[in-house]
């Protein structure tokens, strides 16, 4: 029997007259890689933004590790243990790779303004610890040699890795990746796939939004499919692949039979 980590209960989100999400309910179990797929405009990224607090849902709620997630304060949701990356990379471009990761640690550190101004022992020890951890994290995703490079000067693939490292630095229970393979070549995608498996094996649950159906089907334990803001399927990849409604949504109705 698996333990539920995240439960979305009838989540709905409207933008003016447009219903981006309606009544989406899904359950993510601890330790799994959960895929969220769907055609363009199906509401995947909206679901992400609502989950991570960038938007407030119009209805429904998220229950994470047994308690309801707060609305409107993204940093509190991160504190609960949900970290994310972005579809279009959003690094702190003017900061080095190392500093980006260290910023991710911000939340898990507790020196006060006065401690920092006085540079007391706690503040200095903590700073040293954060630096070490950040190096470790860069090594984990394989870009340690670029630690002192400004984020904007990193290659595209390394920027994607840095986003993952920065998200992991917040010490999440659930890592949400928004199209991490977008724009990657086959080699990079294979490396990414390996990295995601490692992350899961190290005990972090992964929520993966992806366009690359092959990657999702090969990697995920379970998959949910969104179409026009509604969930049309949720099951193990092999079953979802045969679902008529899913095939219809992706390829059009003439292929469904």
């Amino acid at each position: 029997m698996s333990i539920t980590l995240l439960e979305a209960k009838n989540v709905g989100k409207r933008f003016g007259g447009l219903t981006a999400l309606s009544d989406v309910s899904l359950t993510i179990n601890k330790g799994e890689i959960y895929g969220l797929i769907g055609p363009n405009g199906a509401g995947k990224t909206t679901f992400f933004n609502v989950l991570t607090g960038a938007y407030t849902p119009n209805s429904g709620e998220f229950v994470f590790a047994g308690s309801a997630l707060p609305y409107g304060k993204p940093h509190e949701i991160v504190a609960c243990g949900i970290a994310r990356t972005f579809q279009n990379i959003r690094l702190f471009r003017e900061m080095t790779a190392l500093e980006n990761v260290m910023t991710g640690h911000h939340l898990r550190s507790n020196s006060t303004l006065w401690g920092i101004l006085a540079q007391n022992r706690h503040a200095r020890d903590e700073e040293r610890l954060i630096t070490e951890r950040a190096y470790e994290m860069l090594r984990y995703v394989g870009i340690e040699r670029h630690a002192t490079t400004l984020a904007r000067n990193l290659s595209y693939g390394d920027q994607r890795r840095l986003e993952i490292a920065r998200a992991l630095a917040t010490e999440p229970q659930l890592l949400s990746l928004d199209e991490p393979a977008a724009g990657m070549n086959a080699t990079e995608t294979a490396q990414l796939r390996e990295l995601i498996s490692t992350i899961r094996n190290d005990g972090v649950t992964v929520l993966l939004i992806e366009h690359d159906v092959k990657l999702v089907m090969g990697l995920c334990d379970r998959v949910a499919v969104l179409n026009f803001g509604r969930k049309i399927a949720e099951d193990v990849p092999a079953v979802v692949q045969k679902n008529h409604e899913v095939i219809e949504a992706y390829l059009g109705s003439s292929h469904a039979h």
């Binding site: 607090g53 959003r90 303004l113 700073e127």
Partner: protein, 333 residues
Amino acid sequence: METLLQQIVNGLVVGSVYALVALGYTMVYGILGLINFAHGDVLMVGALVSLQVVLFVQKTWPALGAFPTLLIALVSAMAVCMAMGYIIERTAYRRLRNAPRLAPLITAIGVSFLLQTLAMIIWGRNYHSFPQLIDTTPLQPIAGVFITPVQIIILLSSACLMTGLILLVTRTKLGRAMRATAENHRVASLMGVDTNKIIATTFVLGSALAAIAGVMFSTNYGVAHYAMGFIPGIKAFTAAVLGGIGNLGGAMVGGIVLGLVESIGAGYLGSMTDLCNLPVWAQTANLQETCSNGGSFELLSSNYQDIFAFVILGIVLIFRPTGLMGERVSDRA
């Protein structure tokens, strides 16, 4: 030559005070994109609060030395200004975070008026003389240049404060969070940074610097007044724009450069605009008489030194709106 050296020293002193105030402008601009026009008035409150505390301490513990008295006054002024900075951000600016840019700008001007009026009600409209706690008589001149103990203290302490601020921003977790928030506050909050807290902290730090600058100003010039924040505020704003607003190093350089230009300019403004320099045929009879008696007729005296700040502001805005060290604006958008 001696005049030049003397003006350079004076310029460095006044420039470092401008730089401290300019840092407050530039920090807030960097993080919020807001010109906090009330910043100069925070300086004024700092000066007046410290004056009040100095008078109180002198009356209550007359035996206390000059330095402890000034230190108590400085710390109280900083505490009051930091609290004020927090309250201003919390009540006036936070709710306008997502409003069009003009709204917080006008609010800032409103806050400035509010502070000036409150100060006028509390301290009256008169100029107060600020007790000269530290010796303002010049030391033995070095190479013909006079420098007072107050000026030395101002130079040293602002150098320390600026170094401290640079270290804070580049080397600590608070600085990283500030830079992250400045770059993109939505992403920063999605990475676990409490951006409201960081923004409030920025205001608090900027206000502390303004309070220090206010005490320096009053100690150096020996006066405090409810409207004294306006001119230093505008000049520090000029310094921040000159250096490239949003850029900490730029604010420091801008402050020093402005101080130097103003000071050197003021030193020569009189002789440059002396009408006796005109060819004799262009002078009136009266003027010729004054000049031949060894007199002078200066159109603009050194009292007009303020024009330099505004001329610089105009030139920078026209020819290099991003300032000396500013980044390309397109990168920020």
